[in-house]
């Protein structure tokens, strides 16, 4: 592969990183600012989770770039282990976000319906999720037990969709739509990252398909995740502007 193509790839990576970091910082800022303004625990918790997710994303992303691109010699250091441990936290963080969204959604249902008895179901899913992560940590690879966490996440999306349909709050529904966009981007970004990490070892990242995945994962997907998180936070409640007459 020629030097100019490699340089172009690095340029894309850096541009993607800068864009993602800016969007993540903006999303975190709005989430925490809205959290300060919202006083009901369910809503402020929701904002806290969106903010925490973006900060987590920034740390994860920064470590990824550090280990794989900026300082590859660190791949044998404990930083790689820390980065892997952080990566394992992705399912519980998303699940906490999902759980919180469901609890907010129930409050906006005029009949206060507990979709799929979520208040009880979550008591089962949380320990299962944590168990699957412990299993993943012990086994050290993404085995069946590790995949369970992703199955739990996929299953939990169903009550969320039902809750959204039952909710009478159009702002909540819009916020969930953006949550869905962020979630979809996380899924595709994970596939892209997997290809990228695998490719770094085998060299297929420099093949045309690896190149496209890498760009999609870093330059397009990651910013979409954070932009989705930003709009998810911002659209949860109506924001007004003071008119000049006032």
């Amino acid at each position: 592969m020629s030097d100019s193509v490699t340089e172009l790839m690095y340029l894309f990576y850096v541009a993607g990183l800068v864009l993602a970091l800016c969007l993540a910082a903006y999303a975190a800022y709005w989430s925490f600012d809205l959290r300060r303004a919202l006083k009901v625990r369910a809503y402020s918790r929701q904002m806290l989770l969106v903010g925490s997710f973006t900060i987590y994303g920034v740390v994860l992303l920064a470590l990824f770039y550090l280990v794989y691109f900026l300082a590859p010699n660190l791949q044998n250091s404990p930083i790689l282990g820390f980065q892997s441990a952080l990566y394992i936290l992705l399912p519980p963080i998303i699940f906490a976000w999902l759980d919180s969204s469901l609890r907010v959604g129930r409050r906006s249902d005029p009949l206060l319906r507990d979709s799929f008895r979520w208040s009880k179901l979550r008591m089962v899913l949380w320990p299962l999720l944590l168990l699957s992560l412990i299993g993943y940590l012990v086994q050290g690879n993404l085995s069946v037990i590790g995949l369970l966490s992703y199955v739990i996440l996929a299953v939990s999306v169903v009550p969320l969709i039902v809750t959204a349909r039952r909710s009478g709050d159009r702002y909540y529904r819009r916020s969930l739509e953006w949550f869905g966009v962020a979630l979809a981007a996380i899924v595709t970004q994970n596939i892209g990252f997997a290809t990228l990490v695998q490719g770094l070892g085998t060299g297929i990242v420099y093949s045309p398909s690896g190149f496209i995945w890498a760009i999609l994962a870093n330059f397009v997907d990651v910013p979409i995740v954070f932009y989705g998180a930003y709009l998810c936070a911002r659209s949860l409640v109506p924001l007004n502007r003071i008119s000049l007459e006032s």
Binding site: Y43, L239, S246
Partner: protein, 223 residues
Amino acid sequence: MVSSGVPALDQILGSDGYPDKSAVLVVGPPGIGKEALGYWFTQTGLVQGDFCLYVTRLSVREVLQDVKGFGIDMQQKVPLWLSSDGGQIRYDVNDLAGLSFKIKEVLKQNAGRRIRIVIDVLSSLLMLNQPETIYKFLDQLLADAKQYDVVLLVTLEEGMHKTEVLAAMQQLFDGVVELRLYEEGLKVIPLLRIRKMRGVPPQPGYYNFAFSKNGMVLSAYVR
């Protein structure tokens, strides 16, 4: 006059609080803390020996959790709860006539006392019924309530109903207190505004509000 339970708000309203025999609507987006005005209003009433009725769409356990979150102590004296889950009196949110009957019964039983009623079920009722039906229901309920020494505080969610429905609801009430989030540059500011209040001159100003352990803190908003 009946104290709102928030000294700073009483001051804005002319030092004594809400007018006697009045119905006040508190409008705001979900999560902003409208209910807290209801909690302080109830707590102050309980301390002053008024009869307090709290009509809620949430379970009593959830309301008490919220109350605790605002640092309000409602352990010693409790209002009469009218709730679909956990209250002394149960109601079905789909049964408007039943709800109206139960509130009127409580009013009759406590005639002669000063009564404070907080209703936080209006948004649910509006989502389950035609706005015209709720308009008539409220109109009748407020007319009946005014035969007694009652001050009613009703909360309504912004963002769940059409603008014209919100405007129509506001017409029914003697007072409207608005709690909203405003965007100013890169900041979100929660502001309170008295849209109208019977016996109080129109107030165009906005007030910054915050919640502390001692209650709600209000200060005039300057851009």
